[in-house]
Symmetry: C2
Subunit: 112 residues, 2 copies
DNA sequence: TGTTATACCTAACGCCGCTGGGTATCATAC
DNA sequence: GTATGATACCCAGCGGCGTTAGGTATAACA
């Protein structure tokens, strides 16, 4: 079980990264996250949909209703130009924190 | 400027990691974080102290008042046994998310 | 016909960092 | 000697966001 804070921090960059590979929709995104994390990450719908709406509101992603192969209506999301830029910002921020964290961890390893 | 969510997610593991290297106190911790991150991370006191109190409440860290070399009273914190375990849990969770994120990012790189 | 999977949405709650304060001591400068 | 800045601690109120726990609707299957 991943802590709430980590989920909060990783949701936006992960979503943007997934949509950067091509358009997708809510249900499929939840499955992809589960697969990619080897089952460690289990996003809930109640968490994902508000995030999608928020990102759309921020103009980082765009949506359009389409009919899936199974005859069901799906709301497909894709990255906007601003979303692509935002993804890069997210990646840099993540790297900054990750590097700082590993630097401290490695220092500990040296002393112990 | 690092996003609020990322700060929230990294505060606890970073604090535990710093104290794992030896006891320290609020003001010095803020400086260490600033140095370690190359100035990218700037913790505020209003953010740090409540976190320290919370971690102490969770028995992950222990505190004791001491007199610093400069004649000032300082509240020194150190890791408890439970805190050491918690640090390992935090590290694992961080790795899980980091690996998932980089996996998705690399996939994107392959397709583009 | 009813149950499961798909697919979307929302309201109330709680946690937690952020902002913007406050208090006190010590060193330095004027 | 007194003002300023650095050190060092603390707290209240606010807002954002995941969580929990619901709801609606359609297609497939039994």
């Amino acid at each position: 079980m991943i802590s709430k804070e980590l989920v909060a921090a990783s949701t936006k960059p992960m979503l943007l990264a997934i949509l950067a590979k091509g358009e997708s929709y809510g249900y499929a995104i939840i499955e992809e996250v589960r697969d990619r994390s080897g089952g460690e990450l289990e996003w809930s719908e109640g968490m994902l949909y508000p995030v999608l709406h928020r990102l759309e509101n921020e103009k980082l992603i765009l949506s359009s209703w389409k009919l899936g192969e199974n005859g069901r209506k799906r709301k497909y999301y894709r990255l906007s130009a601003a979303g692509t830029k935002a993804l890069e910002v997210e990646r840099k921020q993540w790297s900054t924190i990750h590097n700082t964290l590993t630097a401290i961890w490695e220092t500990k390893a040296c002393l112990s």
